[in-house]
C-alpha cells in the first residue's frame, strides 16, 4: 500500500510530519506514531477535526454535511475522513500545544452525581479514581472534552467538560438526553451513584484564546453551554479582566438549565453579561425572545470593538452565528467553534 508524507502546519506555525497510507485516515495515521491530533467522533460526524488542505490530492470519505462549515472554502476537510492520494499539506486550526505526543490517558471514574436539571438534560459528575500513580488529579483545559465509556467498552460518547481542572478529580458534564439514544437510555434508566465507567481524555482543541484583552463573547445552544461554563469559570477563578458576554439559547423555557450557575458566575465575574434566549417562549417569558444568533447580531451591530466569538451548539446555530459574525466585521481568526451533533 502506498504511503504518502503528510505535513501538517499548526496555527502557530509549527510543523508536524507523518506518513499516511492510502487506506488510512489522517487521524489514525498520526495516532499510529503517537501524534494525537484533536478529534472527537472519528466518524465524520462532529467537525472537531476540521482542517484545510493547502496542497495535494485526497479522498474525502463519507461524512455528515453538518460537520463541515457551509462556506468552508476549497480544501475544507475532516481529518478523520481524509485519505491521501498524494503528499498532502494540511493547515490546522489549532496550536501545536493541543497536539498530544503520547497516548490519551484512560482513567476509571465513578458517578458522584446524576441529576435532572432541565427538560431532557442531566448533570453528570464523575469522580476520578486514583490512577496507577495514586493521583486523582483532573487536569484539562477549559473547552476540552472527555470520552465516556461504559463497562464493556462498546459504548462511547464524547462530552464537553463544564467545570475546570482540579486536584480533587471531579469531572462535570451537562448532557442532553436523546430519545432512544443508547447512552441516554443508560443515564435515564440504569445509571446510579457509585457506578463505574472509564473516561478517556482530555481531548480537543476548543478553548480560550489568549491573545490580549479583546472582549470574549460566548454563544451556546443547549448543552453547548458546557464548554462555555468551563471557560467562564476559568475566567472567574483567575479573575481575568476581559469583557465577557454569554448568549445562551434554548427552544422553549422548559429546556432552560444551569441558571443558578450562571447567576453565580455573574457574581464572580462582574464584567459578564448574560443573555438568556428562548426561541419560542410562552406568554409569561420576560426575557429575550429569539435565538442566540439573533441576540448576537443585535449586539455585534453596536459593538465598538469586535470580540473573539466562541460558538458551541448544533451545526445550524454555528453556521448562522459564523455568518452573522463575518457579516458584522468579525475576522475569521476571531471565531472559534465546536459543533454538537446528536449521538
Amino acid at each position: 500500500m502506498t504511503a504518502y508524507p503528510i505535513e501538517l502546519t499548526t496555527r502557530d506555525g509549527e510543523q508536524i510530519r507523518f506518513d499516511c497510507a492510502e487506506d488510512q485516515n489522517l487521524i489514525d495515521a498520526a495516532a499510529a506514531v503517537d501524534i494525537i491530533l484533536p478529534s472527537q467522533c472519528k466518524q465524520g460526524g462532529c467537525g472537531a477535526c476540521h482542517a484545510h488542505a493547502t496542497a495535494g490530492d485526497y479522498l474525502l470519505g463519507e461524512h455528515s454535511p453538518d460537520a463541515l462549515p457551509k462556506d468552508g472554502g476549497h480544501g475544507s476537510l475532516l481529518m478523520c475522513r481524509t485519505y491521501p492520494r498524494s503528499a498532502l499539506s494540511i493547515a490546522a486550526p489549532f496550536d501545536h500545544n493541543r497536539v498530544l505526543f503520547q497516548a490519551i490517558p484512560r482513567r476509571e471514574a465513578e458517578i458522584a452525581e446524576l441529576a435532572a436539571i432541565g427538560e431532557n438534560t442531566v448533570r453528570l459528575v464523575l469522580q476520578l479514581l486514583p490512577d496507577a500513580d495514586d493521583s486523582r488529579a483532573a487536569q484539562f483545559e477549559p473547552g476540552q472534552f472527555m470520552e465516556l465509556e461504559l463497562p464493556g467498552g462498546d459504548l462511547k460518547r464524547a462530552y464537553s467538560l463544564a467545570n475546570n481542572g482540579n486536584w480533587e478529580g471531579r469531572l462535570e458534564f451537562l448532557i442532553r438526553l436523546q430519545p432512544n439514544g443508547r447512552f441516554s437510555t443508560f443515564l435515564k434508566e440504569q445509571a446510579k451513584t457509585g457506578d463505574k465507567l472509564m473516561v478517556r481524555g482530555p481531548q480537543g482543541a476548543f478553548g480560550l484564546e489568549e491573545t490580549g484583552l479583546r472582549p470574549r463573547w460566548f454563544v451556546a445552544g443547549g448543552t453547548g453551554l458546557a464548554p462555555m461554563l468551563s471557560m467562564l469559570r476559568r475566567m472567574a477563578e483567575w479573575q481575568e479582566p476581559h469583557e465577557a458576554r454569554l448568549f445562551f439559547g434554548v427552544n422553549r423555557e422548559e429546556e432552560l438549565f444551569a441558571l443558578d450557575e450562571l447567576e453565580e458566575l455573574k457574581a464572580a465575574l462582574p464584567q459578564l453579561r448574560v443573555e438568556i434566549c428562548v426561541w419560542k417562549p410562552g406568554d409569561a417569558w420576560q426575557g429575550y425572545a429569539g435565538t442566540p444568533v439573533d441576540a448576537l447580531r443585535r449586539d455585534l451591530a453596536e459593538a465598538k470593538t469586535t470580540p473573539d466569538i466562541y460558538l458551541c451548539g448544533p451545526p445550524a446555530l454555528i453556521d448562522f452565528a459564523e455568518t452573522a459574525a463575518r457579516e458584522l466585521g468579525v475576522g475569521e481568526e476571531q471565531i472559534f467553534s465546536e459543533r454538537f451533533l446528536p449521538s
Partner: protein, 555 residues
C-alpha cells in the same frame, strides 16, 4: 514583529532577526509588538522621571515599575499578551503621575515645565488593534533608513543591556535592595534612547556607562542576596530524587523560593531546584530548610522533557520559561515577571495552589541512589582561601584560571563549552556561573592541593562574585585583571548576558571569548570596533582557544 535580542534569533541570508508570526523563542507577533510598545512607554516614564529627579522630586515607585516592565520583555520571560495590555495601561498611568510630579516640582522652583513629545506623549490606544498599530511605529528598527544598521545596532546593544540591568535590579528590589543611583541610571539611559540618538561616539560612551551602572546593580544584588540569606558556602547538593511529594522551582528568584520553603514547612513536600535556582543550596539560610531536597534536571532548554517527567508541581519564578507542554500545563505556575497564556500566575506570593497541586500529584515513588555536586563558591568562599590559591599559583600548581560562564541554550555548537571544560589542562581551575555549567558540572574534575578544580560561583545573577574574585586576585598579584592567568569564555543567550558583557568591557577586561555566535544586532563594523578596542573574540574550537589562552599567558 521584529526581534533579534537573543542568541536564538532567526539567521538568514536576507538578514538576521525573528520577523514571522512567531519568534524562535515562541513569542508570537502580538506579544512581541506589545513588548516593543511597553519599552516605548517606559521611555516616556523615564523622560519625565529623569527630569523630576533632577529637580529633587524622584519617583522610585515609578522606577520599580520600569524595572519590572523591562524585565517582562526579556527573552523567555513573559509570553502573555493580556499581561502586556494591562502593563501598557499601567505604564500610561505611571507616566501621568510622574509627569504631574515633574511639572509641580518645576513650577515650585519657578521653572516652566518642558513640553515633551514622542514617548512622553504616548497615549495607549483604546483597543488591541489600535495598540498594535501604535507598535508599528516604535519597533527596534524604527529610523533605520535615516541612521543605518550600525546606529540601530548600538541602540539595540544599549536597550538590550538595559533590559538585563533592569532584570538584575528587579531581583535586588524584591529583596529590598534599592538605590537612587540605579533608578537614576536607568531613567537616564531610557531618556537617552528616547531621543533616538545617532552619534556613534555618544552611543558607545553610553554603552560603557551602562556597563558601569550594571556593576552597581550587580553589587546591590549581591548585597541583597547575601544580606538576606548569608554568604554562600561550599555545599553538596543532591542531584537525585528522594521518595515523596515534590515541587520543582526554576528561575532565579530566591525570595519566591524562601516563601515557598516557609509555606511548605512540615507538609512533607520536598522542594527541588531547577536550572538557575541550583546555587540556592549554597546560602546558609536557604539550605537550613531540611526539605530543600536537591536539584532536579539541567538547564532551561531541557525543561519541556524534564518538567514532563517531574511528578509534582512546578513553579517558574523568572526567566527562562518555554512553552509548557500539555503533559504539565496544568501543574506549572508562574510568579513575578514570568507569564504564559493559559498558565496560572501567582502574583501575591501565596503559593497555596502550587502546594495543593503537589499534594494531589504522585511525587517520587522511590529514592534514587544519592549523587551530589558541590556549589557555593561565591566571592566570600573563594577569597576565604585566597592565600591557598595564591600560593598554588606561585608554586606553579595552578597554571591558569578559566571562567567558563553564562547562559546555556539549545543551539548547535554549545558542546564547545563541554569540550572546553573537559580539555582544560589538569593544572587549571575552572570558575563557572550561569546555567552554561550544566554542560559539565557533573563531571569529576578533581582538585589541586585541596582546591576543587571546578568552582561554581552561582547564578548569572552572581556575576559580581566573579568580578570581585578577579579584581581581588589582581590586587594580590599586584597586576591588572588583564595580566592575570585568567581567560573569560562567555556564552551568551539573552539580555542579562548583554549587561554583564558591557560591565566586563567597561572594566577594561580584554580578550573575552564570546559565543556560540555573536549577537545579530552587532553589525560587522560594531564587532570590529569591539575587537579593536577590547580584543573581543568569537569562540573557535575548544582546543585552539585553550592553546591560545595559555600561549598568550606564556607570552
Amino acid at each position: 514583529m521584529f526581534c533579534y535580542q537573543c542568541e536564538q534569533t532567526q539567521r538568514s541570508a536576507n538578514g538576521d532577526g525573528c520577523s514571522s508570526a512567531k519568534g524562535n523563542c515562541g513569542k508570537d507577533a502580538v506579544t512581541s509588538d506589545l513588548q516593543d510598545l511597553l519599552v516605548h512607554a517606559a521611555k516616556g516614564i523615564a523622560q519625565y522621571a529623569a527630569r523630576a529627579r533632577a529637580l529633587g522630586a524622584p519617583d522610585n515607585e515609578a522606577g520599580g515599575f520600569v524595572l519590572y516592565a523591562l524585565f517582562t520583555t526579556l527573552t523567555n520571560v513573559n509570553f502573555n499578551a493580556t499581561r502586556f495590555v494591562t502593563l501598557l495601561q499601567q505604564a500610561a498611568q505611571v507616566r501621568d503621575r510622574v509627569k504631574a510630579r515633574y511639572e509641580e516640582a518645576a513650577r515650585a522652583q519657578g521653572l516652566t515645565p518642558e513640553t515633551l513629545t514622542g514617548a512622553a506623549d504616548w497615549q495607549p490606544a483604546a483597543d488591541m488593534d489600535g495598540l498594535l498599530m501604535q507598535a508599528t511605529e516604535v519597533g527596534i528598527k524604527a529610523g533605520l533608513e535615516q541612521v543605518g544598521e550600525d546606529i540601530v545596532g548600538l541602540r539595540s546593544l544599549i536597550l538590550y543591556g538595559l533590559k538585563g540591568v533592569c532584570a538584575y535590579a528587579h531581583h535586588a528590589h524584591v529583596l529590598g535592595g534599592e538605590s537612587d543611583a540605579v533608578y537614576a541610571g536607568v531613567e537616564s539611559a531610557l531618556d537617552f534612547l528616547a531621543t533616538n540618538p545617532a552619534d556613534m561616539n555618544a552611543l558607545l560612551e553610553r554603552a560603557m556607562a551602562l556597563g558601569q551602572l550594571n556593576l552597581q546593580v550587580m553589587e546591590m544584588l549581591d548585597g541583597a542576596n547575601t544580606g538576606t540569606f548569608g554568604a554562600p558556602e561550599p555545599s553538596a547538593v543532591r542531584v537525585t530524587p528522594v521518595k515523596g511529594k515534590a515541587i520543582l522551582v526554576s528561575g532565579h528568584d530566591l525570595k519566591d523560593l524562601v516563601n515557598l520553603l516557609e509555606q511548605t514547612k512540615d507538609t512533607g513536600i520536598n522542594i527541588y531546584t531547577h536550572g538557575e535556582m541550583l546555587p540556592a543550596h549554597g546560602y546558609p539560610k536557604l539550605k537550613a530548610y531540611p526539605h530543600l531536597a536537591g536539584n532536579y534536571g539541567g538547564a532551561w532548554q531541557d525543561q519541556q522533557t524534564e518538567f514532563a517527567d517531574f511528578p509534582g508541581a512546578i513553579l517558574m519564578t523568572s526567566n527562562c520559561i518555554i512553552e509548557p507542554r500539555p503533559q504539565y500545563r496544568q501543574r506549572i505556575f508562574t510568579a513575578g515577571p514570568v507569564g504564559w497564556p493559559g498558565v496560572r500566575h501567582i502574583a501575591d506570593g501565596n503559593f497555596a495552589p502550587v502546594i495543593e497541586a503537589a499534594k494531589a500529584l504522585p511525587g517520587f515513588k522511590e529514592d534514587v541512589a544519592e549523587k551530589t555536586i558541590t556549589v557555593g563558591f561565591g566571592h566570600d568562599a573563594v577569597l576565604g582561601v585566597a592565600d591557598k590559591v595564591i600560593d598554588a599559583v606561585k608554586a606553579g600548581a595552578i597554571r591558569h584560571f578559566f571562567l567558563i560562564g553564562g547562559c546555556d541554550g539549545a543551539a548547535p555548537g554549545r558542546n564547545y563549552y563541554t569540550e572546553f571544560a573537559e580539555k582544560a589542562p589538569q593544572d587549571s581551575v575552572i570558575l563557572t556561573l550561569g546555567c552554561n555549567k550544566y554542560r559539565f558540572n557533573q563531571h569529576d574534575f578533581g582538585d589541586i592541593g585541596g582546591i576543587p578544580r571546578l568552582l561554581d560561583i552561582g547564578q548569572c545573577n552572581d556575576s559580581y562574585s566573579a568580578i570581585k574574585i578577579a579584581t581581588a586576585l589582581a590586587g594580590a598579584f599586584e597586576c591588572g585583571v588583564n595580566d592575570l592567568p585568567l581567560s573569560l569564555i562567555v556564552s551568551w543567550f539573552e539580555q542579562k548576558a548583554a549587561a554583564v558583557l558591557l560591565t566586563l568591557l567597561s572594566l577594561g577586561i580584554r580578550n573575552i571569548r564570546l559565543g556560540p555566535t555573536l549577537p545579530a544586532f552587532l553589525t560587522p563594523a560594531l564587532v570590529q570596533a569591539l575587537v579593536d578596542q577590547f580584543g573581543l573574540q568569537p569562540i573557535t574550537d575548544a582546543q585552539s582557544d585553550i592553546d591560545a589562552a595559555l600561549m598568550r599567558q606564556a607570552a
